[in-house]
Each structure stands twice: as C-alpha cells, then as structure tokens.
Symmetry: C2
Subunit: 419 residues, 2 copies
C-alpha cells in the first residue's frame, strides 16, 4: 500500500468566513488533489484575523502539503505571504523579476483606470516580496502562485479569484516539489455508481449486506437531488475486493443504476440522444428554465438541445405551446393533462424529436389542499412513445425546483433507454 | 464596545473535504451568526477521519460557540456526537424521549421502504445517545439538533442535510444557551451598497480616499458577477462615522449604485416592474435559461414574469421569436441585430410589456476571430424604448453565462428606471 500523502487546504477571505460567498477554491483543489492520489484532510476557511490565518498555516505545515488560497493582494489585509514567511521563519525579500512582471501588469491597469502608476508602486513591491527559498509560478492577475518547500512540507500560495487559481494550479502541479509529492502518492482507483429512484439508506444497507468497506476500499454514499452517488476509492491490491463489492451493490440495485461514470446527468442524457440522432426540447413551468440551464451548461449541447419554452403564465402555455384553454380550465395548470399537452406542444412548436415538460407548485405560496406545494407533474414525449410521472415531495422552493429539474432529465433518459 | 463573541464552525462530510460537493452549511451559519452579532472566525471542513474531526472540535471548543454540521446519522462513520462526548469528557446516554421520536420516524421510513424495523433499531439507539447535560431540539429528519453548554463554550451539533439544518437552526437560536450568547453579543448595524458597472479596485480606492475603515466600522468589498457588494458593519457608537463613509462611497460612485438593500437583483428588477404594472419576458440563447431561472427563483415572480423562449437553435429563434431568417443569415446568430429581433419577438410572442434578449458565444467551442468566446449581445425592449449592450469578457463558459444573465437583469433595470 502506498503511503498516504496528506494535504491541508486553507481558504482565506473575510467574505468567505462571513458566509457572503461560498468557497469554490477548497473543493476545486480537494478534487484535484484526490485525483493525484493526495488526501485532502481538512479545508479551513478563515477571515482577515491574522491569528486565525496564522493558526491555519501552522497546522497546515504539519501535513505533507499545504495549499492556501487568497490573501495575496496588494492591500494591508492581504497577509498570506507575510505570515507564511513568519511561521516558516524565513525573511522576505523582493524578487526583482517578479516585481518587474507585476509592474508591467499594474501599469496596464493604471492606464485603463486613468490613474498614476505611483498609486500602485507600493502594492507591487509588497506583492513581489517572497519568503527566502520560495519560487513563483506564473502571473494571471497581479498575484503569482508561490511554492515553498520547507523540507517537511510543501507550502503553496495561490491567488483567491477562482479563475486565476484554476489557471495557475495546473502549473504548480508540474513544479519539482509537487512532482516529488505526486511521486510518493499513488492515485487510488475510483469506481463510481450513480443511482436514481432509491433511498440513501437502502444503498447503505446494500453496502453493509455486501460486507461493507474493507482494507483498501473506501466508499462514500451521497444523496444529491434524488440521485445517489456512490464512489469506491480503491488502493493498489484491493481491486478484486472493490470489484466484488461493486458487483454486489449493482446487483442489489440493478434497476436504479443509471451510470457508472462521472458525467453530469444532463451530459449523459445529451449523449444518449446524440447517439440516437434525436434532438431535445423542453417546456418548463415551475422549474422556470432550470432544465434548459442544466442542459446548456454542457459544452456542445447545441447539436442536441434546440431550446425550451419557459411557460410561466397560462397565456404563454396556450400561445407558445398550444396547450388548449379548455384543458387548462378543466384540469388547472398543475395537472398531468397540462404536462402532457406541454410536452406534445414543445415537440411540435420547437421541432424537437423529444420534449420534456414540467409543471408544479414550487411554493411557498400557491398550494391548495388538492394541489399542495411540492406536487409536480412531468411528461416526456418522443417518437417512440411517452412517459408521465407525478412527484410529491417535501422541501422548500429551491429544493422542489432543483429536484424537479433532475427528475425531468431522468424521465428523458428512461424514455430513450426504455428502462 | 460590546465584547466580541466568537464562533467556530465545523462542517463534517467526506464528500465535502473531497471536493465532491460545496459546503453550504458553513456559509449559511456564518451569515446567520453575523446578523446576531457573533463573529464566525473559522469554518473547518473535515472528512470521515476521526482525528481530524476531533481536532476541529477541540479547537472549536476554545471559542464561545462551536457549531458542527453533519455526522449525526445512524451509521458507523457518523461520529460527531460520540467525539463531542469524548472531547468534553462526558458519558453518552440514550435519551428515551428522543429515542421514541426517532423510532416513530424510522418506522415510517421502514414501512415506506417495505423493510423490517429491526434493520433500523440499532441506528435509532445510536442517534438517541447524547452526552450528559446536552439537550436536543426538534427532529426534521432522524437526526436532532443537539445543544451542549460546557460553561466555557456552547457546542451545537446539527444534521448535515442543508434543509434539515436550516429548519433546526432557528430553533437552536432560541434555546437558553444561545440566547445568553446573543445577549452578550451586540448585533452590529449593517449598511449595504450594491454597485454595477464599476471595478472592485475603483471602489477600494474610493474607500481609501474616504478615510477607509475606522474604529467600529468594518467594510467588506466583494465582486460577484460584475456586481460589487459593499457591506459596512457598524458597532454601536460608530453610526456617524459609518454614515459619512457610506455617503462618500455613494458620492464617488453615484451612477453605479443600484441598491442599498440586500434583495437579489432578480427580485429588485421584478419589484421595479411590478411597481410600474409591467410584465416581463425573456429570449435566451447562450444563457440557455439562466435569466428565467434567476427570475423564477424569486417567490411570487409569476405576477410579473410571464415566461421565456430559450432559443438555442436558429430554427427556434425564427419560429418562436420571429427573428427573420435574412437577419440570421446576414449578421449571424450572435449579433446586435439578432439580439434586438429576439427581444422584440419575445415581447410580441410572449405578450410581455418588457423583454430582454441574450445571444453570445459562451464557449469553449464556437468562437471565431470576428466573434470570439465571450462576445455577448444584450437587448431590452419595453413600451418606452429599447437599450442594447455589447459585452466582451474573458472567462470560462460558466462565468460567461452567469455574468451575461446578471448583465441582462441590469439592462432591464436600466430600461425601466431610465438610468
């Protein structure tokens, strides 16, 4: 078994610790590390309190790898580099090559903002000061990525803006200290199962019945909007155990397994349709564009997905989707009849081979005894037939909308795979 | 000045520390604490390694308040309560009232899943065991919220599913130990400015020029999808300084300030339209439903927002929005002419007073020298006139789509406020 290589991640930013913004860098780095066989053991989010950042750095330096995001800017409350120098006991010195790189970028910014460069000069020197022994990698904004190998730990500092971080991180992975760590680690194998229509606890029971986790095979089970994501992390030598466990899980839940890879469901549905030469359209009421948004989130979706009608008002349902006024009047907008008419209308009006429709009560208002908040009708129509589904679930507006969108994608999947 | 009351937040979940899912609980709790005058100093995300969770609990217990989410489930790797008992040196004992509550819920689940209750009995006893002196609050799923006042620290454990956590947390805030903490804290005043069309650094410069942060006034500046969110946190006695600082910031950026409250932009736009008795529709190409999804995310949006056409293919642009084939052929789908025709078509076809259209190249494919990835045309049309905007920005597909959707909402705002 390969020795574990452990990493701590620190995300610095007062807007993060105050909850004004979700930290995207920690999850991004953690996922990347895992794929390289390095275990992220902790993500710590701290604000602008120096003692908190210092504490997080000190405890991170006890791992094999410490990756810090944020706090590299030009202002007084950007303290990552200064504190990294402090906790590693190294003096700071201006790197002249780096200073000249940052100066070039800052002169450009000054010009664009029509301000004298003198306003920036102090910040440039601050951003170009590195702890002795550190190297820098690339400049996307005015903050570089910094790599410092202390012997006991490799410390990496990255700029906070996710776009800059995501551009610089792959370059950091190719530096000598990171290559050495990656050499010590051994990327685990990973097997994934994606299930739909089964409960998390039923999958957990199936896992237990199959013998559960064992030496070298770690399993995570995670419910996400009606889907159950099962991941098996397999160390070298444990492949046979992992394969047997996976087979047992599949056997116990055969009709619910819809994927054994990590493609998002929208991408998987688009791939299925593409393989059959079918196009897709959508008609959305309560999901209000979420189904279309998920589909168009996939690069290259335009060869399959032609478009959608977000029919929030009854007038739009009638005019744009051809839902008969009589059906709306008799059954109400939230009904299986209207869902069916919306799907059929979307096929015809959008010229799509397959169409899926969603209508429901997302709340918090608008519910009645007969049609409570959480009641949703789905309908999918295609050249080979139609499928309808009624959902009735608890939750807030956001949950109901999100789950409805996911369920709509799965209804399309079932329609085109006939499962 | 009120003494600071400090809180540590711990989010436990292997899917969180592996980066498979973003932690939503930490930011939710942090924002809530801040509004109650309690300072979140740290959010630590840990996985299923007991030593990491134990370490996070120990360091959290050094603060006034420790809030932990996750790890309260029935299975062996749910260790929060057991470790909390361990680190506070308290024995675990089954709370019989709690056990009976969890049993009732679990019998219901067993019945729904058509499985014997015996499968659940062990988990029920595990979930009903609490550290001596702890109280429990409410049951949404099978895990309760647990509050343990050690004298030095109030420790709270909450279930990991965000919906359960968000339902239980307000009840925890009303327990005696939390009320005592809240009494010691003093909720700061908060003033917010929301700006659009100005850079983060320009706002930071304006802040510096106005004298910057001062005793009792903390300021955060945060760029989010083209918007700049400025928050002033004001302690008692510092109101005059805060008002002066806010006035200076407004004066320096007057034309960019669009809001002084925290309503999401979609809600603000809907409110503006509602006040004028106008309805809204949308025509989306590259945003693929994101504009509609943001609008329909707002409860009660249906009285203003009638619907949208997601016109991903040229055929749908022509058939559903009446964009002339000749205009598409001459200028291409990504052009100011097509954006204008889409907006006008959406007004007519959806029967909306105001319509906004988006067409652009979100990438990563599809860019050309003349029309590169990141080129986006917006157009808003209403009874009193029209506004067009060309955007040209860097970023990945997700960023381009998100920013385009936000910019589209702002174009509607400008159209109806004539600013």
């Amino acid at each position: 078994m390969a020795p574990r290589v452990r990493a701590a991640i620190v995300a610095s930013g007062s807007e993060l610790v105050r909850g004004d913004r979700q930290d995207r860098n920690g999850p991004h780095l953690a996922g990347s590390l895992l794929r390289h066989g390095i275990d992220p053991v902790r993500i710590t989010v701290v604000g602008d309190e120096p003692a908190e950042l210092e504490g997080a750095l000190r405890s991170g330096l006890e791992e094999d790898l410490l990756v810090v995001s944020g706090g590299l800017g030009p202002t007084h409350d950007d303290r990552t580099i200064e504190l990294l120098a402090h906790v590693t006991g190294r003096p700071l010195a201006v790197d002249t090559e780096l200073a000249s790189g940052i100066e070039t970028l800052s002169r450009r910014v000054a010009k664009r903002l029509n301000r004298p460069y003198a306003d920036f000069a102090g910040g440039v020197l601050k951003q170009a000061a590195l702890p002795a022994g550190a190297e820098w990698v690339g400049l996307v904004g005015t903050a570089p990525a910094v790599v410092l190998d202390t012997g006991a730990c490799v410390a990496v500092a990255l700029p906070g803006p996710p776009r800059e971080l995501q551009e610089l991180w792959p370059r950091v992975l190719e530096t000598a200290p990171l290559l050495a760590l990656r050499g010590r680690a051994q990327a685990p194998g990973r097997r994934v199962l994606r299930l739909f229509g089964v409960s998390e606890s039923a999958v957990a029971q199936a896992l237990e019945a199959a013998g559960g986790e064992s030496e070298g095979v770690a399993v995570t089970i995670c419910a996400r909007d009606f889907e159950i994501h099962v991941d098996l992390f397999v160390e070298a030598g444990a492949e046979a155990r992992a394969a047997a466990l996976e087979a047992a899980l599949v056997e116990a839940n055969e009709r619910y397994v819809f994927s054994r890879d990590e493609r998002p469901t929208a991408e998987l549905v688009l791939d299925l349709l593409r393989a059959q030469g079918l196009t897709l359209g959508a008609a959305e009421s309560c999901t209000g564009g979420l189904v279309a948004a998920r589909l168009t989130d996939v690069p290259g979706s335009s060869d399959v997905f032609v478009g959608a009608v977000v029919a929030y008002s009854n007038e739009v349902k009638a005019a744009q989707l051809g839902v008969p006024e009589a059906v709306l009047a008799e059954h109400g907008a939230v009904s299986e009849q209207v869902a069916a008419a919306m799907a059929q209308g979307a096929r015809a009006q959008l010229g799509a081979d397959v169409a899926v429709a969603v209508t429901g009560v997302a709340g918090p208002g608008g519910g009645t005894a007969a049609k409570p908040v959480g009641l949703v009708f789905l309908h999918a129509a295609g050249p080979a037939g139609e499928l309808a589904r009624r959902l009735d679930f608890p939750g807030d507006r956001d949950t109901i909308r999100r789950r409805s969108a996911v369920a709509a994608l799965h209804l399309v999947r079932r329609l085109v795979t006939q499962t």
